[in-house]
């Protein structure tokens, strides 16, 4: 049973879909590096032994009744974390790409900076992480798209290795992109004038399984994410107005406080 204990309670959520080959290793790594954290594997209706492997490794299991996709899966974890009172949530993918040794870095940054989201970035400093040419091009493209919207550079906008605090949870529990959520989530936070920071992390090739984004779906991915970003920018009401007198948030543009 996962409980939020203490003022700095941390829940590590692991969205997983058919990750029986990697999820046990991921859970064991998280337990080793952040033993105080609750670990919750959100099973997106896998047809393999993901649940059994994750349970054997000692994780709590949130089994979804049918396949929701990555965003719906992550949001379910955010909702549970919100309802059970966790202060911080860090998402670690179930395919083994994210290195659990970097979780304390993200948690420290969340605590010390006070910002609402911390992104584990492959590209902040050279650290040996490798990315394919097509994905690198996509990341460069979205960096350029997001720069004027966010008001600051984001080096790794497609990273799923992300930590959020309770203020971000209060938003994501009711408003979270359901497909390809990483980039849109940044814009959702920006709408609320929340801040994000990046920390340098290592990423590895996935231990098992295949990426959901293939060459065929890349075009759909780009159009879908661009549309999501555009729609969220349209919702950004206060973008065109000055902050109210006495507002605790500083700054005057979409990148305020970032």
């Amino acid at each position: 049973v996962i409980r939020a204990e203490g003022p700095d309670s941390l829940l590590v959520i692991v969205p997983a879909f058919n990750e029986e080959g990697a999820v046990g290793h991921v859970v064991a790594g998280v337990r080793q590096w952040v033993p105080q954290a609750g670990i919750l594997v959100i099973d997106d209706c896998s047809s393999d032994a993901t649940i059994e492997v994750a349970r054997a490794a000692g994780a709590g299991i949130l089994p979804l009744p049918h396949h929701l996709g990555l965003g719906g899966c992550v949001q379910a974890g955010y909702k549970l974390a919100w309802e059970t009172g966790f202060q911080f949530v860090i998402r670690v993918d179930g395919d083994g790409q994210h290195d659990p040794r970097d979780i304390p870095l993200i948690l420290d940054k969340l605590k010390t900076s006070g910002c609402e989201m911390v992104i584990g970035s492959r590209f902040l400093t050279p650290n040996g992480s490798r990315t394919g040419a097509a994905r690198s091009l996509g990341i460069l493209f979205f960096r350029a798209v997001l720069r004027p919207i966010l008001g600051k550079a984001v080096h790794d906008p497609t990273s799923g290795f992300v930590g959020v605090n309770r203020r971000a949870l209060s938003v994501f529990k009711s408003s979270f992109p359901l497909e390809y959520p990483e980039i849109e989530a940044l814009v959702v936070l920006q709408r609320k004038r929340f801040r994000f920071e990046e920390v340098s992390v290592r990423m590895h090739p996935r231990l098992a399984g295949r990426s959901t984004i293939t060459a065929l779906t890349s075009f759909y991915y780009i159009v879908h994410v661009l549309l999501g970003v555009f729609v969220n920018v349209l919702k950004y009401e206060r973008r065109w107005h000055r902050p109210a007198p006495g507002s605790s948030r500083s700054g005057s543009g979409p990148g305020a406080g970032a």
């Binding site: 709590g60 089994p63 379910a76």
Partner: protein, 117 residues
């Protein structure tokens, strides 16, 4: 032109019958069938009342009636498709929220049971 209007008449009648049977068998809920019935009825009326179709053709500014009927029919079905996309999107959102709620409740129920044990 008469042959074409006979074809559209037949299509609209088939559509009307299909929708009515589907409602009767509960394959379509009545609130979603009304739009189809109105669309099929409108095409049937336009196909049989030549004066009305000609009046619409002049209003739109098209050279001939079959083209006007095709344009009106296409527009109706595009609007219908959009309406149903809105409905499906709402249902999907509700479905996701329900699935998440069910999973969370099951998780909390299981936690309670484990606590009791």
């Amino acid at each position: 032109m008469d042959r074409l209007l006979n074809v559209t008449t037949a299509i609209s009648i088939v559509l009307l019958v299909m929708v009515l049977f589907s409602v009767r068998r509960a394959h379509i809920r009545p609130e979603y069938s009304v739009t189809w019935l109105i669309a099929a009825g409108a095409i049937l009326v336009l196909s049989r009342v030549h004066g009305l179709l000609d009046l619409l053709r002049k209003l739109i500014g098209l050279p001939d009636s079959p083209l006007a009927l095709f344009l009106i029919g296409s527009s109706v079905f595009i609007i219908l498709s959009f309406r149903f996309s809105v409905i499906v999107s709402g249902l999907r959102d509700n479905n996701i929220a329900l699935a998440q709620r069910l999973a969370i409740l099951e998780y909390r129920l299981q936690s309670l049971e484990e606590n009791e044990e």
